[in-house]
């Protein structure tokens, strides 16, 4: 049983999602059954992941050969501390979004919960797989689920945003396949660890082709992660999605970032000879410009959802900076920041939705409108989330940004990282305080007493789950940082992956 643990977090949402299309759960009026089922599935997913995490931290990284086809020929699932950590984050986010959706979003259509499960399955698979083509397949699984989730509930804005999102991602998928064909054609393998062994033995002419493939992959991951020239789709798409969906999407940009970390640390890492660090001259300016454009976007946003979308872009840029420093310490700091920024930006999407539902037609736009009904509750939540995302103590953003700043040790790195991160944090604080002032204090007229728009307990539950996690990862900061450090160490340690998979080096 323990041998099959790495595949469980994928199988649970897959079969659970399928089951939820069948009689005891299908049908418009049986939504209560679906709610109970989906909650159980989310909890099961988290429990399985925690078991996997325990097993990985006790016995080291685990691999699972699907159909028992051994590496490098078969598809390998590889559970190392990094992948398991991200899967746990996905499960947690999925649970919070699902709870939030119980307030009514899930009743706008029959298939909300099954699609949500498929989305979780796709993201989980993308984190766990150690085969580039399988990564493509899981990308497609998570994408087609996200297409359906994005348009769920209907409406002009969603249709328009979805058309753009789908076309862009289909082009991205084509590029992904071009890149895979190029890399397979030169290295003759798709297993990530095996590819990292083969890449250093390429002749000079093959190296050029492999480099082209590697750069194409950067474009693909850059599109998913919303790096500078490819980020235009993000704020609009996320603003159009319903709140629980946007919250779950907060992890999807991180899938792209994870791809960059995995591929360019392992395949094009230190052992790659000529090709090691080939994206280094690109990644620095891209990271810095992404943070700058995100900050400009935050200042210019007309409503809270757009603002949060731009905050996601800033967090991606910051993560890329942590990647660009390319030491295990910086990578570990990046992982801590990744957990924090995913949770808090997801919470902000939900808070924006709750504020919007109490302000009538003004929704969450920064204009003078009617007073919100529960200013104390919503104000407190917004305050906590804003403090955390801007990086003020005592919340997790402070620690996250602090350890990224600490991990920049060379002088030139320090100048860039410190100035960019600090200035962008300052501007974020300004934008957020302006937003909070307008949303909560500048109102006209009395509130309409007739319509009852008080937030439901499900909504409060979903958001609190995410917000409580922020101080928790500060209080338990030491073990979390130790764990991310371990994860970063394992990511940089190629020989461990090679020995787990019993790959033979080409020297033999």
């Amino acid at each position: 049983m323990m041998d099959h643990l790495p595949i469980l977090p994928i199988l649970i949402p897959l079969f659970g999602g399928l089951l939820m299309l069948l009689p005891p759960f299908a049908g418009v009026e049986r939504y209560v059954n679906r709610r109970i089922g989906t909650t159980l599935l989310c909890v099961l997913h988290i429990v399985a992941t925690i078991f996997l995490m325990n097993s990985v931290s006790e016995n080291g990284s685990m691999m699972y050969a699907i159909g028992n086809w051994q590496a490098p020929f078969g598809i390998i699932m590889f559970a190392d501390p990094l992948a398991v950590m991200l899967v746990l984050l996905t499960g947690f986010l999925g649970l919070a979004s699902t709870l939030y959706a119980f307030a009514g979003t899930d009743r706008e259509g029959r298939y909300f919960h099954p699609i949500m499960q498929f989305q979780i399955m796709g993201i989980t698979g993308a984190f766990l797989t150690h085969d580039l083509f399988n990564l493509f397949v899981f990308f497609e699984v998570l994408l087609i689920a996200s297409y359906a989730l994005l348009i769920h509930g209907g409406g002009k804005q969603r249709t328009l945003a979805n058309v753009h999102y789908v076309i862009l991602n289909l082009v991205g998928s084509s590029l992904f396949l071009f890149a895979l064909g190029t890399l397979y054609g030169t290295t003759g393998t798709l297993n990530i660890a095996d590819m990292s062994l083969k890449i250093s033995t390429l002749s000079a002419r093959e190296q050029v082709i492999a480099e082209a493939g590697g750069m194409l992959l950067l474009v693909v991951f850059g599109l998913k992660a919303a790096i500078l020239p490819l980020h235009f789709w993000l704020p609009r798409t996320y603003a159009a999605a319903s709140a629980p969906v946007a919250a779950l999407f907060a992890i999807m940009t991180k899938v792209g970032v994870y791809g960059i970390f995995r591929v360019y640390t392992v395949i094009f890492g230190e052992q790659a000879g000529q090709l090691s660090g080939m994206i280094q001259p690109w990644i620095w300016p891209l990271a810095i410009l992404t943070v700058i454009i995100g900050t400009v976007g935050v200042l210019a946003s007309p409503d809270l959802r757009n603002l949060t979308g731009n905050l996601v872009i800033i967090s991606v840029g910051t993560l890329l900076m942590a990647f660009a420093i390319r030491t295990p310490e910086a990578t570990a700091a990046g992982f801590y920041y990744l957990i924090h920024s995913t949770l808090i930006s997801a919470a902000l999407f939900m808070i924006a939705d709750m504020i919007g539902q109490q302000r009538g037609k003004a929704v969450d736009r920064f204009v003078i409108a009617r007073k919100v009904q529960q200013p104390a509750l919503l104000g407190l939540m917004f305050f906590v989330a804003a403090m955390a995302i801007a990086g003020l103590p005592p919340f997790s953003g402070f620690i996250g940004k602090l350890i990224i700043l600490q991990s920049a040790f060379s002088d030139s790195d320090k100048v860039w990282v410190w100035s960019i991160v600090l200035i962008s944090s300052l501007l974020t604080i300004i934008a957020l305080s302006r937003a909070g002032t307008t949303l909560f204090w500048r109102h006209a007229g009395d509130r309409d007493k007739a319509d009852k728009t008080a937030v439901s307990y499900w909504q409060i539950g979903g958001v609190s789950l995410l917000l409580i996690a922020s101080p928790l990862i500060v209080i338990y900061g030491a073990p979390v940082i130790k764990y991310t450090g371990h994860a970063a160490q394992q990511l940089h340690d190629l020989s461990a992956a090679v020995s787990v998979m019993q790959l033979k080096g080409v020297q033999q």
């Binding site: 083509f133 397949v137 497609e140 087609i144 297409y147 348009i151 209907g154 409406g155 002009k156 249709t159 328009l160 979805n162 058309v163 753009h164 789908v166 076309i167 289909l170 082009v171 998928s173 084509s174 396949l177 071009f178 895979l180 064909g181 190029t182 397979y184 054609g185 798709l190």
Partner: protein, 122 residues
């Protein structure tokens, strides 16, 4: 054979990219299909091109790499599903938005060649 193959992939990619950049959803969908075909051919060639090669051991002098064939099959299936989705989505967008432009609204200078102009004149 290689030259012909390369030309096919190149021309199809070119037309795919060109069509993807058009303003209406129909050409864009066609462009995505073209790109999909080009990608499938390209993936197939990553196992090297050879004639009369069997993918099973002991059946032939020359062997073809079976993996790209499996990859292409997967890519075809996924691509087909995605095209089906985008076709339905663009029909939905046509219904929801009242026009078939990707941006959801007619560009300012489009009245010159839009068919509705001619019909309204009659």
């Amino acid at each position: 054979m290689e030259t012909l193959y390369v030309l096919c992939v190149g021309v199809m990619t070119f037309s795919g990219v060109f069509l993807c950049l058009r303003g209406r959803t129909f050409p864009v969908v066609l462009g995505l299909m073209m790109l999909g075909y080009a990608v499938n051919l390209f993936l197939f060639s990553s196992g090297r091109l050879n004639l009369d090669g069997a993918a099973i051991l002991g059946k032939s002098e020359i062997y073809a790499d079976p993996l790209p064939q499996a990859l292409v099959l997967t890519a075809i299936v996924i691509g087909f599903a995605m095209i089906a989705f985008i076709v339905i989505l663009s029909m939905r967008a046509r219904a929801d938005l009242g026009n078939d432009y990707v941006d959801g609204k007619e560009p300012p200078d489009s009245s010159m060649n839009s068919p509705s102009r001619w019909s309204s004149k009659k």
